[in-house]
């Protein structure tokens, strides 16, 4: 093990890697600070720039953007009441009232310290648990992977938003798109309509960019032009040691909540932040101040959403299944670099895993440095008008999509996916289930057909051992819980409507 760590350190400790994590965190903070740009979009736009990089360097760049993006989302949430990322929605509750009181600087610093602490805790959890889970997953064969991926698909319920039916439609689109190309067993054509470029399947990056960036650009043109200067100033007050001590309990609790909720696929940063916030409010001595500009509220929200950053990587690295949409993009990045996360990665490329762990730890340190040094700059960025931003994003999209395979066909795919994404946006169909299904679809189909090949079509292989049983039972249980929750929500709505009448 020590030898592997030494090799991993040599792999990691290059100027390129140390610098790229820094660059990633800076890009992430900038992207997160811009309202309308999500961390997912940031990671998607950065992905094409990693092609020429070695795998570890490329992955670390994306992880840096991810972590910076989640923290950066708190900046416009505090300053202009517009969360930069959905995970920062809870930070608005106490962040903006503090800005109105002229204490934006204090709020931003508390957000930064809480984020860094939670991020660090999350990284520790990642390092301790991933190897353990991966060693267990080494026993998996195709049927076990099938049941695991089937269970992972239930995360779609977590990212489906208000309507589960719409989320499932989105997932069907993604699964269907993933079937295009040559059949893996027989080598026959599937829905390629004679287009040779589609024989290898639809490429991931044009789909990703088309789905997440182009619809936002098109939709921006349907909005009225408005640009008022919203940023008022930061104030001078920072966070005192006494204030940090007072909030530490909430930060610690929020970090733990983030770690646990991040490790469960499909939950993500926003619910974690709200749970952390409500727990802090429930136990706080100053509960009445929550929502009126309470520093502890920011600490709880930010530790909750940043606590998921490291732990969402646990299922990704250990099992090869993404915990949320950003880790789905990072999974795609691993595949582009010829790596398949999961137990096999631990068996064959353990040094790469250790090197990534080192980079992840460094990213927490950089987050603190970059966040502290750049607060004033990021605060200004949050006021950049979208009329400048979207043309820039469009050019990045086009260069990125073209760079995938040096072919204009990828631009066509990007534009077509942009139109599909716009249709989905208008009909309130979430894009995240599409992407997760698009990535997991081929893995699911391959493991399904490999299993049936082993038994010449006998389905009993899918219940051959307790691992399969466990995952299938968990899938059934998840579906039951999801359906029950939806029925309850509908009943609550009907009851509320009746009471209003």
């Amino acid at each position: 093990m020590l030898e592997n760590i030494t090799i991993a350190f040599q792999l990691f400790a290059t100027i390129d890697n140390v610098a790229i994590v820094f660059i990633g965190v800076v890009i992430g903070c900038i992207v997160g600070a811009i309202p309308g740009m999500t961390a997912t979009m940031g990671v998607a736009l950065t992905l094409p720039f990693t092609f020429y990089l070695p795998p570890v360097t490329g992955i670390l760049l994306l992880i840096g953007v991810y972590k910076g993006g989640i923290y950066g989302g708190s900046i416009p949430a505090i300053l202009i009441k517009t969360p930069g990322t959905p995970a920062a929605a809870c930070t608005v509750l106490d962040g903006f009232p503090l800005t109105q009181k002229g204490q934006a600087n204090k709020a931003l610093h508390m957000a930064l310290y809480s984020s860094c602490f939670a991020d660090f805790m999350s990284n520790i959890a990642l390092i301790f648990f991933t190897g353990f889970i991966a060693s267990f997953a080494l026993k998996f064969g195709p049927p076990e992977f099938f049941s695991l991926i089937l269970f992972s698909l239930t995360i779609i319920a977590g990212v489906a938003g208000d309507s589960l039916a719409r989320g499932l439609i989105s997932a069907c689109f993604g699964l269907l798109l993933a079937t295009i190309g040559l059949d893996l067993i027989y080598g026959t054509e599937r829905m390629i309509f004679g287009e040779t470029e589609l024989m290898g399947g639809v490429k991931f990056i044009p789909v990703l960019i088309g789905l997440f960036a182009i619809p936002e650009i098109i939709d921006h043109y349907t909005k009225k032009y408005e640009h008022k200067k919203r940023f008022v100033g930061l104030g001078d007050e920072g966070v005192t040691m006494g204030e940090w001590k007072r909030c530490f309990k909430s930060v610690f609790r929020g970090s733990l909540i983030g770690v646990v909720m991040g490790a469960i696929p499909g939950i993500g940063g926003a619910p974690s932040a709200f749970l952390s916030y409500s727990e802090a409010k429930r136990t706080s001595k100053v509960a009445d101040n929550f929502g009126k500009g309470e520093l502890e509220g920011i600490a709880a929200a930010e530790s909750g959403n940043n606590g998921v950053c490291g732990s969402t990587m646990i299922p990704l690295l250990a099992l090869g299944v993404p915990g949320d949409v950003i880790t789905a993009v990072i999974l795609g990045a691993f595949m582009i670099h010829g790596l398949r996360p999961g137990p096999i990665l631990f068996e064959q490329n353990i040094t790469i895993v250790y090197a990534i762990f080192m980079g992840i730890m460094l990213s927490s340190v950089y987050l603190l440095i970059v966040g502290k040094a750049g607060i004033k700059l990021f605060a200004r960025i949050s006021d950049v008008p979208n009329s400048f931003l979207y043309p820039i994003v469009l050019v990045l999209c086009v260069f990125g999509a073209y760079a995938v395979g040096n072919t204009m066909f990828d631009l066509v795919v990007m534009i077509v996916m942009g139109l599909v994404g716009y249709f989905m946006l208008k009909f309130h169909i979430p894009a995240a289930p599409f992407l997760i299904a698009f990535i997991l679809g081929p893995l699911l189909e391959d493991s399904f057909r490999q299993s049936l090949q082993l038994t010449r079509g006998d389905f009993s292989i899918f219940i051959r051992n307790p691992i399969c049983w466990t995952f299938l039972s968990m899938t059934v249980l998840s579906i039951y819980v999801i359906i029950r929750r939806n029925i309850k929500l509908k009943k609550d709505r009907d009851l509320a409507a009746m009471l209003i009448e």
């Binding site: 092609f51 269907l176 059949d183 026959t188 599937r190 349907t222 260069f399 073209y402 049936l452």
Partner: protein
């Protein structure tokens, strides 16, 4: 209001119709199934059919639910969402026109890349898109239009060794 009220039903109908089209026309003509295949579950079209059947089921469910809920009064949340859209978006007709213009611009951008190359096409598109957005601060737009595509071109060419098309300047 009509769209908000019937959006579930419309979406359900579109998805159901699309799924039926897939099952009856697209899959039979575009998925080759080898005659040697003896196991139904290993057939190249088996997985695709499962997905499409599932989407047909969801589409039908959404259509029926949509027709049911269309008769009900809009909830406060739905009314608030419609008001929010009204406040921040152009009126319906202009919104559609602007979206069509943006989509047309995307295709123009694509064809310009083929003709004028990546740099010039991108520069023109930055200006066009910004102006279409209502932006008139040319002192900011023009430098972005000049330096961003050029910088990206040289990044991909020199650092990543990926040549970008130069169109007629090739």
């Amino acid at each position: 209001m009509f769209f908000a009220r019937f959006s579930d039903a419309i979406l359900g109908a579109v998805i159901s119709a699309g799924s039926l089209l897939m099952l009856l026309v697209i899959i039979p003509i575009s998925v080759q199934v080898p005659k040697s295949n003896k196991v139904l579950a290993l057939s190249p079209d088996f997985w695709i059919k499962i997905i499409v059947w599932f989407s047909l089921f969801i589409g039908a469910y959404l259509f029926i639910q949509g027709l049911k809920t269309a008769k009900e009064e809009l909830t406060e949340d739905q009314v608030a969402a419609i008001e929010n859209i009204k406040n921040h978006h152009h009126p319906m007709g202009r919104s559609v026109l602007m979206a069509m213009l943006a989509i047309a611009n995307l295709f123009v951008y694509y064809f310009l890349i083929d003709w004028l190359g990546m740099i010039l096409a991108s520069s023109i598109s930055v200006v066009t898109f910004a102006v279409l957005c209502g932006e008139r601060r040319y002192k900011i737009i023009l430098p972005i239009a000049a330096f961003l595509p050029t910088g990206l071109y040289y990044f991909f060419l020199k650092v990543a060794s990926i040549p970008m098309p130069l169109g007629i300047f090739e």
